[in-house]
Amino acid sequence: MPHPRPNRPTSPPAPRERFVSRSHWTLGLALLLALHAVGPEIVRADPAHQYTLQARLDPALHSVEGSGTIVWTNESRVPQNEIWLHLYLNAFAHPRTVFMRESGGQLRGVRFDGSGGIRVRTLRWGGHDLLPGAGSPAEPSDGSTVHDDDAEDAADNDTDTTAATDTDTDQRDETEWRVPLPRAVAPGESISLEVEWTSRLPPVFARSGYHGDFHVVAQWFPKLARLEPDGTWASFPYHGNGEFYADYARYDLTVETPPGWQVGATGENVLDEVTGGWARRRFVADNVLDTVFVTAPWLRTLESEVQRADGSAIAITVLFPPGYESAAERHLEVTRRGLAHYGRILFEYPYDQLTVVVPPRGADGAAGMEYPQLFITAGPWFQMNAQPMGAHDEVTAHELGHQWFQGMVGTHEVRWPMLDEGLTEWITGDCLREIHGPSRSGASWPFPLDGFEIRRAVALSGDAVPPPATAAYGFPDGGYGKTIYFRTASVLETVARTWGRARIWRALGRYANDQKFKHPVPDDLFRAFDAEYGSWMSRRILRPALFENATAEHALDAPVLGAGRTRVTGTRTGGLRLPTRVRLRGSSGEHEVRWDGHQDALIVDVEGTYEIAEADPYRRNMLDPDRRNDAVALPGARDDVGVGPFVAWFQTLIAWLGP
């Protein structure tokens, strides 16, 4: 729906003054900014939400003194008596926060050790101090319940659990705040909040914090939750999986660091000066969901440009530690190729700048994270814990992909993580196919491996888990990664391989273009796919696969030979009917038949003698949990593995063990 027209911010005592007409200079400035904007989709004039923030980093204390104004417009149909704020950094305040309990105090093998938080010192609207009424809810506002191993253990041991209850204010999660307002804000009305705060960064963990001089200042300021059009606040605590959902806004950020420190941030760098012993840099970004900055004194830069189709350029800056030159060049190359690929299948990256940060050794907790116009990738290969070969390319392609999902297609990451991580995971694999080739998109050594084979194997392995259309907090027993990332990607890859890659590019491109700078839900995705394939696509494939974990298992019976004919039967289970091919091989050569998408049973009766039958010989079905029954052969008919590939390896082993 169209947004209400935003207006100049008001203060509570004088609500009538809020509809002040804009002055000519404002209009002129807006026009200038609009002309300056190269990306055609960036709306620079008159944003409904604006953050003007100043941040001074204290590198010794690893803290940030922040101040600024937040202009917020009530874009809903309902007057608002309160606002909700995210105070993300408080996730690291103590071990009992929602984040720490859900994550178990670790993320991707990096264990949290330290603390961090955010203290709001001032929060005013006009002359009204909003702090006295502000506070966090006793329970997460999104209705989520935290699976709590500690509490269960305590209960099992019949011990006192009072110290571990959420109602204890010292142990309460304070990553979201409800702030009552002195009066209601009418639909379409804008207000301006003055805010001052101190952010205390933790040792780098979950992509925020410091490691030595390296500071990732992320999720660091009081940030408004998003108000839905129906007047409900989409607030949530900082969960272990999922954090983004906000309004698109203008972020005008001024960062102060000691002189000589390099800074990368969201937005265009419009000011760079040294005053009063501090280096001040100002970054302005329009139509983004967040702002972040990364700084260290020793960061090196590698700069490049990518041309858009209209001849305009995207400036790419890679910030990296000394000694990471080759890694920086590799990340730059993947970024360039990723921008081209995503631009082709989705839409062109519309902002004028993009910063890629390569974290230093020891800052693994910062690796692999996306923010608007800036993402943090991984370092050289040895820095990647438990990742397969080529993982550094994958991290870069993945975090770059997030610039689209959810950077510019602003889905609710907590409620619909599959629209964020899931879609990004698929375009990542698709991009790596372009870069490395289909057979080497997962690994090149010691043997080539299709990356989607890895995703399929992970997605369909182990115990049953909730389907991809589950909220980020709905995985108390694990399985978030394999479901949200890998299962969603496997579903899309199955569609790509079964009905053609060009069609899924068109479908996903339609979805991305339709929902650019909006806040879509799964139905919007389904509509885009149905428009490309027909209404059966969401009804018969996407919805069952994403909402019900439906699979597409094929199983063949052994060929029956007789009177110069071969009979093969098979069954299909799992809920999804995918059209597939069945290849017969044997004494009479090769013969293929089509197993269409309407029947669960297959009966093939053909002339000739075929001892081997194989369903899905082109590996298009990425949703078959067990491929061992896809192919059957009569005894003695199948290809043997053969000793050839092993002999040299064993000879080598023997030689080095032997005399």
């Binding site: 491996l449 084979e453 053969g642 000793v643 032997g658 005399p659």
Partner: protein, 287 residues
């Protein structure tokens, strides 16, 4: 006459040891070509036996994989095009397949091979000399002494492995703070050196000692002689590195017919490298 000279030299060296005199002046490194040629038949035997054992292991593995893959298509052929059609399913049902048996079988074979290789090495070393004591008794005696040489030198071997694994691990785990990864990488290389040098030294002395027992020396004297000739480490390193390079290229050749032929040629060359070093160890020892 030759026996008399030999005895006299041993006697002289024993006196020198007892008197703790400075090490003897450097000798001219003898030419080992004759020993290498003399040992060629044994070299071929060793290579063929090793190949047969490798073939047996490969067959066990191929059969196990065939059985584990079920009736599906050749998994390795599919993997060459990036596919892993049943690999992960097979791994999921690992315990129900014959793969655990294949692994146990392979490990057992390798352990047996390691023991058997002692006898093969004695055969190999003795074939390179024309003055080694003849007869089954002398052969088995050398095998027994060769085993004891290894047992006697097990301590330094453990030290070498501890250094080889421990120092890089300590450096890697302890490296903190500096954002420049080059210090980490250089440190890794430097931390590997003590282990590599210790291992190379151990292997040099060990092979020389084995060469000594092959010609009939006692365990203590064999180790002493091996230690005395430790200068041969550079030569050992040369042949070992050349062999390592050859095997590295060989295993990357793949299984195509030409690749297999190249791999076999390279592996044969590696055996010849080993033979060249053992021939040198044989002639290097003072009489």
């Amino acid at each position: 006459m030759r026996v008399d000279t030999h005895s006299a030299r041993i006697s002289l060296e024993t006196e020198q040891m007892a008197a703790a005199t400075p090490p003897p002046p450097k000798r001219r490194v003898p030419f080992s070509g004759k020993a290498f040629v003399r040992g060629l038949p044994a070299t071929v035997v060793v290579h063929v036996i090793g190949g047969l054992v490798a073939l047996m292991l490969s067959n066990t593995w191929a059969n196990a994989l065939d059985a584990a893959a079920g009736a599906g298509p050749d998994p390795l052929a599919a993997m060459s095009t990036g596919g892993a059609p049943t690999f992960f399913e097979t791994m999921r049902g690992f315990s129900e397949t014959t793969l655990p048996w294949a692994i146990a079988s392979a490990l057992t074979t390798l352990v047996l091979w390691w023991f058997a290789s002692l006898a093969l090495q004695m055969l190999w070393l003795r074939s390179m000399r024309d003055d080694a004591p003849r007869g089954a008794k002398a052969f088995f005696g050398s095998v027994l002494r060769g085993g004891f040489v290894t047992l006697a030198m097990i301590g330094p071997l453990m030290v070498a492995w501890a250094l080889l694994i421990g120092l890089p691990a300590l450096w890697h785990l302890g490296f903190r703070g500096d954002p420049d990864p080059r210090w980490h990488d250089y440190g890794m290389i430097v931390s590997l050196l003590p282990g590599v040098l210790t291992y190379a030294g151990w292997a040099t002395v060990h092979d020389l000692a084995r060469a000594a027992v092959a010609r009939g020396d006692g365990i203590v004297r064999a180790i002493h002689l091996g230690w005395r000739e430790r200068d041969a480490m550079l030569r050992y390193a040369f042949w070992a590195l050349l062999g390592l390079g050859l095997t590295a290229v060989a295993v990357l050749q793949g299984s195509a017919a030409l690749g297999w032929l190249i791999a076999q040629s390279l592996l044969l060359l590696r055996t010849l490298c080993r033979a060249a070093w053992l021939a040198h160890a044989t002639v290097r020892l003072p009489e």
